[in-house]
Chain length 362, copies 4
């Protein structure tokens, strides 16, 4: 269990990195949404390995196929299944980790839980499982954009200790796509890239922070007390591989303020809409969107796969010194950007439909 | 919707701060667990207002009653309903906020979502709704303690910029309860209390961080890819009032490390169990517990209710200067401690039962 | 688990027959629906024992209290908790069945499942648990009536082998309430009542069929492939105590027809709506309502509690001859009528909200 | 929504009859179950069209592929995706029903719900969607057989008015497979087949009843009050195409008995297990299995596709006389047998895992 996300827009992913295929079934999508494989492929291409010098050189095509739920270019309201075939060759690359638990990977915990694991390329714990998430997110985002003009933009905010400066109110996808790191602050990006290249050459890895903003979010999304919007966003993000922290609005940094400093004063704008003068709430108050931009940050740890020698153990009770070979990402952040966007789309879509169900169109 | 938490140990809370009652229905509790109202009341007493000079002086009894699901002192396996009656007097304290949206409260968003709200004392958005969570958490924790010796301890780790030093491996509840702040580091606690008293006198408020540890957690809990253990913990914590951030293990601070520094080396201990030399993973790898202590941190913003004058608006489109009276908490952290423990208990309990269902006892 | 019904309009019931209280929490109710305790009480009064000479003479008040989710006479969109206190006296009536498994009751199976049971009055398996269903159904039906003019009428169709003739197109509640049996066919009702009185005097019991119709159901409700409307209706009805069978439309009797005889021809009515000339489909085609009346039938077995001597066993492995005393229903049908209506209301309400969520208002 | 079945063993199906593929994702399967495509294919072959002279002559291979969730011949505990590709040729067979609502099919209701439909071969409402159910059922049944020796056998009990005589206590699959009708009573089967052939030649169709028995079911499965075992069985069966009625145990026929006649007397057998002398309860009491055989019956209406001329309407508001061509089943019962078995397997499996979760192994 645990492979379904959402209550109204329900996304079920499947697939190991070296099984037959990975994919997703989307249940609950509104009917009559124009949808083709191109809508999905463009996001998968941003996610896939081998895009640039700072991602893993492993080449994967990741060509998707919609096998149900659409007809003559529109959604039917029935389950949309999207499938990406794996390359079928059985890999021998992983033979040396068959009986070894790689440090800070999921090898040991899958074995502890299930008593068995697909040890080829991480199996189900591989980041390859996010293909289904990205595909589903593309559908959600297309609906929200068309229905409400809602837009989601994520970008690299921090790599190790290097911070960028980005204005979430105005940043556009084209700003993000301007460099291979997906950090719109060009100066910071250059430093970050240099650091990552150093890490790559050194056989090591670094982590960082992805920030994401959603604009034109209607007020009223989110369902207290447990399915608050920020709670579901937190769950969505912390379900991604390698995440270690989540913030909304002012986050941990807001703790230095007092309440009177931190509060967002209300005012009416020229269209007589209720607005806030500041946005320390990050667009969510009491678990419900207030119409301001939703702003979140997600911490990704440095990837666990490094070439440096490490101490670990085998399944058989022996101590082992592991020197990973393989080809992996020195920094997951550039590829994490479209994944964070996808998950944000899934959460907002789910809550949009749920809100419409309970409260009707308003 | 949104008032049910968990899949196997399902907790549904109800109640507004000034309606007839607040409470919880727990579905899926294992049968034959010894359970009386005292087991629950002790945790409710830690949560209730009026405990000390640094919490709101508002006095509430919060006496619970179990009205179903137990018989002759043990659970039946049927739904356990726990009810705490509200004082029935209709409050006039809140008349002045009937038509006003308090900054950074949920007044506006509830109105935007539902088109109606119970404006007395925050209604459903009041922290009073956490009574049901604490009651259910007490049941979960009792089961886990009895079945597995699992123990959960939370404490105040930070107030504004003041940090405490606490060893999560050994800290006990009695250390936490030693002072009114629930911070086991006595020296830091004294500074924190002084700051809070200054805030209280000044009509302002401060936030901070609660840290929680779970010990004796069996390996194997957590269900990738969406219901990873840290994802459900994040959701649980971010569904609490006033939370703005969540971390597991090394969290945001871990980002300064490289992968080779950050990885937790495996070894076999004297009982031939797989262990990690460090615990930057916070007890969770690949979304599944690895048997090490689970360690999380939750950021609570400074409470929105302050006595200082603030700019805001009324429902009728007017600008308003609000000067709150009432009696509120200058800092929610001491009372948040038992709530964080409760939510951690709910997550671990749910995953314990889910794991037992899919994989059987091992 | 298993005490929650519905996905969008989620109803969780709790309570044993002799615990502190029975009740229900309704999550997901649309906001701003006028709702008072009187709306619920009128249905509870139709359900309660002691109404007439052919129901159990046991007197129960079953006075309900709404303790959350409403404010100033309307729903808030937050959970609505409705509670009915049990009489608190601990019964000695049941001491003789403490260690005995009554034939065709749930005594043995609860014990087999949970290893413990509340043996007083059936505990959770008592028909008293339907109070929460009826309360929630009253809320659902009020919304559907107000929003769509949807009306639900159930009545006794058959007692043992005595059949009544009722036209589901026109039957009204006042027709149903005209006699104590809730069978609108007066002549059949007289025979049925005579039979039941004979059974009552003889210490035996009889079963029968309740038929229910929903009119003004909008086309489009129901979610293939698993949550088809008739599937959820079947589940709803078969979850009621003492049910043994379910039919929709032509049901089992339709099997004598060939396909060409059984099909419902389509036509356009004067308002250019698609209609069917006959209604063997019972208002549901392919799992989705077609706008015709929804027509179902539910078989209730003869109640298991009889005064006649029966062979059974004790918990301790002994054979026992049981002669029940107590006061019970010789026929549950009159009291089942409001319960069937309630469950039908819950299913239609849930699907109304779900459909509105996915497909929007049309 | 509505395409997922089960809570612990969660089955999500997808696919239209003429889209790219149909299939299923199974989440929550216990790990380490031996499983290959052959285990599934054998059941699909019993379900597929073109098996015999009394099923549709349409030929479909329905070759399945497991693309995730297994490794080296055993289940991983991760989602198992099973895919059956559709023939890709776009059919022109259906052009004449593109704008016509076939009587008692789902053409109109899908259009009413979604505003769009895949009109080729019924789209999602095609019986082809049951392929996913049968595949998942094969997995469930294999686990239950291996873990508990539980066996499920279904067979044709009735065609139109012709009844068979079968003893559910002893009937084996080989008895069922002895003839093309899957009715173990050879004499009745001959009559039934003759009737179906007459209908086929006449361009008409007939319905009937499938009965199913589950043996070696452990006591304790089923979760009152809503997820009673018979309620979930009813939902499972009534979610199948063309079903109109459901019974458990004595069903509608039991209504002629009085309570004292109908009750199942308890006794202890030679192994000191609690047993019932009769089984009018059909193996379920109070919603929980009692260890006796579970016995259900499902009514399937005569198929809606007939060659005889019928009155209907077009999408454009016109009246139309429809004369179906195509190749369809004069009677669905032989092919319904493996589908009923599959759904019964899914329900029992789900409740087995749920019970193990809440109550542990007993």
């Amino acid at each position: 269990m645990g492979n379904t996300f959402g209550r109204a827009f329900r996304v079920t992913t499947f697939g190991e990195s070296h099984g037959g295929a990975v994919g997703v079934v989307i249940d609950g999508c509104p009917p009559r949404l124009p949808l083709t494989e191109e809508d999905i492929q463009v996001e998968l291409d941003r996610r896939r390995p081998g895009q640039s010098a700072i991602t893993t050189p492993r080449q994967e095509e990741d060509t998707c196929r919609i096998v149900s739920g659409t007809f003559e270019g529109v959604t039917l309201g029935t389950p949309i299944a999207v499938i990406v075939n794996n390359k079928d060759a059985r890999s021998t690359d992983y033979d040396d980790i068959k009986d070894t638990f790689r440090p800070s990977h999921a090898d040991y915990t899958y074995e502890a839980k299930f008593g068995v694991r697909n040890w080829q390329g991480g199996g189900r714990s591989s980041a390859r499982e996010t293909i289904g998430r990205v595909a589903a997110g593309a559908v959600a985002r297309k609906f929200l954009a068309q229905e409400r003009g809602l837009e989601i933009v994520a970008y690299v905010r921090q790599v190790q200790s290097i911070m960028s400066v980005v204005d979430p109110q105005v940043v556009r996808r084209e700003d993000v796509e301007r460099n291979i790191l997906r950090c719109p602050d060009g100066a910071a990006a250059a430093q970050m890239i240099a650091l990552i290249e150093r890490m790559r050459d050194d056989g090591d890895s670094v982590g960082g922070v992805v920030e994401a903003v959603a604009r034109n979010v209607p007020p009223g999304l989110g369902e207290p007390v447990f399915d608050k919007l920020e709670a579901d966003l937190a769950r969505a993000m912390m379900s991604l591989p390698a995440t270690r922290g989540f913030e909304v609005g002012s986050g941990f940094a807001g703790l230095v303020m007092t309440g009177s400093q931190h509060n967002d004063a209300f005012y009416y704008d020229e269209e007589q809409r209720v607005r806030t003068a500041t946005n320390r709430s990050g667009g969510v108050q009491g678990g419900i969107s207030n119409g301001e931009n939703i702003l979140i940050r997600v911490a990704f740890k440095p990837p666990s796969t490094v070439r440096k020698a490490q101490q670990t153990v085998g399944r058989d009770g022996t101590a082992i010194t592991l020197e990973a070979r393989g080809r992996h990402d020195p920094c997951v952040l550039p590829r994490a950007v479209p994944i964070v966007e996808a998950m944000m789309g899934l959460v907002l879509m789910d809550h949009f439909l749920r809100h419409r169900g309970q409260c009707g169109a308003r």
